[in-house]
């Protein structure tokens, strides 16, 4: 069935209605037929019977008056009876008129005409024969004329009876039709009512059981799905609302199934993600632990570094105490030898003193490093004359250089002027450089050149120490400014030193906002160039908190702050070297 339930229900209702209508119209029809028959009986049959009876009565009365007419002898009675007869004739005429107006069939009309003709013949015979012959007779005997009327009267009476019979017959027929109509309509109404009930019941039962069966399927399916069986589908035939419901239900189940699959997939992804997250978390924890371990290691290293610095400071102090005695006794011996004239002792005493001084320098350098490491190296900024610092340092090394046959020259333009920095540190750096130069140059020249240049809008002072020593090869150059790094051990044995001087000098230069660089060629000599801001205030603030890395590596340059040194910028430099010395601190 390709019809909707609504349509089916409406169709069933329509069918019932149609049956009802047919039933009703048929009943109405039967009723009206019955009504018609009844009306006919009421309007025609009954009055016509009454009229026939009247005619019969008038006829009987008329005959009786004829008898009285004979019997009564008095003329007055005869006249009264004649009058009464006349009245009856008029009544009869009225009855005939009445009857003539009824709807009559052919037989009835023929009988009626015979009756009327028979009556007129009878009345005529009465007036022409009976009354004249009996008006004057008063014998009281039956006049033969009365007997002569008898055949007319009998004929007439038989006609009246016939009419009466016909009217009776007609009424009976009409009533029979009414009864028949009643019977027929009762039968039809009963059968049609039964049919309607049966049809309605069949349709209702069929529809309801069909719908119930399909709804049961749906119910079973929903219960199955509620129980978790998502593979359930409902197969309903037809294209009604239930089928649409089933289709939608199947779609819903399909969607649910898809959602369920999706959910399961999501669930898998989620658990994978959780697993990843857990791994990440454990990685994080491990990393965190590693970081903590690194922190602990760093703290330990810092503590160790601190301990080292403390140790160096303490050692520096502890070493100075016996050194104080050694150098003090040497000075005393020196004085006593001078006073007593024991001049042959003087060179040895001088060697002891020199070695002691060297030891002191080493101790001082160690202490300076520990100060820098601890951030305790303070700058004492002041304005000073560059030439006086240079002259002072040259003055210290002149006797030694002279005694070794080396030319020590200072090239300093007279207009070089003032500098604002830490004079002590500048002096220390120049001292270190010249000390190295003197220590490692056996012959030739040492020149300290000072110049004044502008770079990046700032004034810079260049100190350049050039010697004719043996120079430094490129491999050694990389480690030159590293603390505690001798260029090689032989050098240490030849010339002494801890490898601290250059590293310390670079630290000091960087603290002063500048840097130190070296250019050298093995066998030809070296040029150490120090570049410092003329006014430390124009560069960045002091770097007293700068801390050495534990491996002693120092930055080669402070990017953008210190001008690079090129050979062209050296104004007075390397004299022709003959014998070169390796450089060290």
């Amino acid at each position: 069935m390709k019809l909707s339930i609504r349509t089916k229900l409406l169709a069933a209702l329509g069918l019932d209605l149609a049956l009802m209508l047919i039933l009703g119209s048929f009943a109405l029809n039967q009723m009206s037929a019955m009504n018609e028959e009844a009306t006919f009986v009421a309007a025609q049959t009954i009055p016509s019977i009454d009229t026939v009876n009247t005619i019969n009565d008038i006829l009987l009365s008329y005959r009786n008056l004829q008898v009285e007419y004979i019997i009564n002898v008095a003329s007055a009675d005869k006249l009264r009876i004649e009058g009464e007869m006349h009245h009856l004739e008029e009544d009869m005429a009225k009855a005939f008129i009445t009857y003539d107006h009824f709807q009559l069939d052919e037989n009835e009309r023929a009988t009626f005409e015979q009756t009327r003709a028979g009556w007129e013949q009878f009345v005529t015979a009465t007036h022409t024969q009976f009354i004249p012959s009996n008006r004057d007779s008063n014998t009281g005997n039956v006049h033969p004329s009365f007997s002569r009327l008898a055949p007319l009267y009998d004929n007439l009476l038989s006609h009246v009876r016939q009419i009466k019979q016909q009217s009776q017959q007609r009424a009976t027929t009409a009533l029979g039709r009414v009864r028949a109509a009643y019977d027929a309509s009762r039968l039809v109404i009963l059968s049609e009512t039964t049919l309607t009930i049966v049809v309605s019941a069949v349709i209702g039962l069929t529809l309801s059981s069909n719908i119930a069966r399909r709804i049961r399927k749906l119910r079973d399916a929903t219960m199955a799905i509620a129980g978790g069986d998502l593979n359930q589908t409902v197969a309903l035939r037809g294209s009604d609302e239930l089928q649409l419901l089933a289709n939608n239900f199947n779609l819903m189940v399909a969607s649910l199934r898809q959602q369920h699959l999706l959910l399961a997939q999501r669930n898998t992804e989620l658990s994978e993600s959780l697993e990843t997250q857990r791994k990440l978390m454990s990685d994080l924890v491990q990393r965190k632990q590693a970081e903590e371990a690194a922190d602990r290691a760093r703290a330990t290293a810092e503590a160790a570094s601190q301990a080292k610095s403390m140790f160096l400071a303490t050692m520096s102090h502890e070493l100075r105490t016996p050194l104080n005695a050694i150098l003090g006794y040497v000075q005393l011996l020196h004085l006593e030898a001078q006073i007593r004239g024991n001049t042959d002792m003087l060179p040895d005493l001088e060697r002891i003193r020199s070695a002691g001084k060297h030891l002191l320098t080493i101790i001082s350098n160690i202490l300076d490093f520990s100060k820098i490491e601890q951030g305790k190296m303070n700058l004492e900024i002041d304005t000073f004359e560059i030439s006086s610092v240079a002259n002072e340092v040259i003055g210290i090394f002149s006797p030694l250089a002279h005694s070794r046959g080396i030319d020590l020259t200072l090239i300093c333009p007279p207009e070089i002027g003032l500098m604002r920095s830490d004079a002590g540190k500048v002096r220390q750096v120049l001292f270190n450089l010249l000390s190295n130069a003197v220590k490692f140059t056996e012959r030739g020249h040492i020149t300290l050149t000072i110049s004044h240049e502008y770079h990046s809008g700032k004034a810079w002072i260049f100190f350049s120490v050039a010697d004719t020593g043996i120079g430094i090869n490129p491999e050694q150059m990389g480690r030159l400014f590293q603390a505690f790094s001798q260029v090689h051990h032989n050098t240490f044995h030849h010339y002494g030193g801890t490898g601290l001087g250059l590293a310390l000098s670079r630290q000091l230069c960087q603290m002063l906002g500048g840097d130190i660089t070296v250019e050298s060629e093995t066998g030809k000599g070296s040029v150490f160039s120090v570049c410092l801001p003329a006014d430390i205030g124009t560069v960045q603030a002091t770097r007293q908190t700068h801390v050495l890395h534990t491996n002693g590596n120092l930055p080669r340059h402070i990017p953008g702050s210190v001008p690079s040194l090129t050979p062209g910028e050296e104004t007075a430099v390397v004299a022709s070297p003959t014998s070169m010395t390796q450089r060290d601190a």
Partner: protein, 130 residues
């Protein structure tokens, strides 16, 4: 010449300093710790004190502080003699009341210069002029 008290817990250092000072004509007395230094100062009223800072019993900083709060001794100038040459340590000595300081190892000429300047004696010994 003056009487100078040399306080140092290291015997050789006391000896060297005393002999240097006696070379130029001063008379010296010595103490091996801060407490001794306080006692000697009280007893001998020296003109000058050379005070080592790291000493047992009573250290140099404390002895200096005590001397500077003792009314009849506070006028005596004190020179700190120390192996601690960091600015912190020097400041500590100066703020304790030392008039000057000498870093170990002590240079003979520098010692005599500082002593002479605190005693108001600018004359240099004749043998040093060479």
């Amino acid at each position: 010449m003056a009487t100078i008290l040399v306080a140092d817990d290291f015997h050789e250092n006391r000896d060297v300093l005393c002999r240097m000072l006696r070379l130029v004509g001063h008379s010296t007395i010595s103490a091996a710790n801060g407490q001794e230094a306080l006692d000697m100062a009280q007893e001998h009223r020296p003109d000058l004190i050379l005070m080592d800072l790291s000493m047992p019993i009573v250290d140099g900083w404390k002895a200096t502080a005590i001397l500077k709060t003792t009314s009849d001794l506070r006028h005596i100038p004190i020179i700190a003699v120390t192996g601690h040459v960091t600015p912190d340590e020097i400041n500590r000595a100066i703020s304790a009341g030392c008039a000057d300081y000498l870093a170990k190892p002590v240079d003979f000429e520098r010692l005599l210069g500082k002593v002479a300047s605190l005693l108001g004696d600018t004359q240099r010994p004749p043998f040093l002029s060479s």
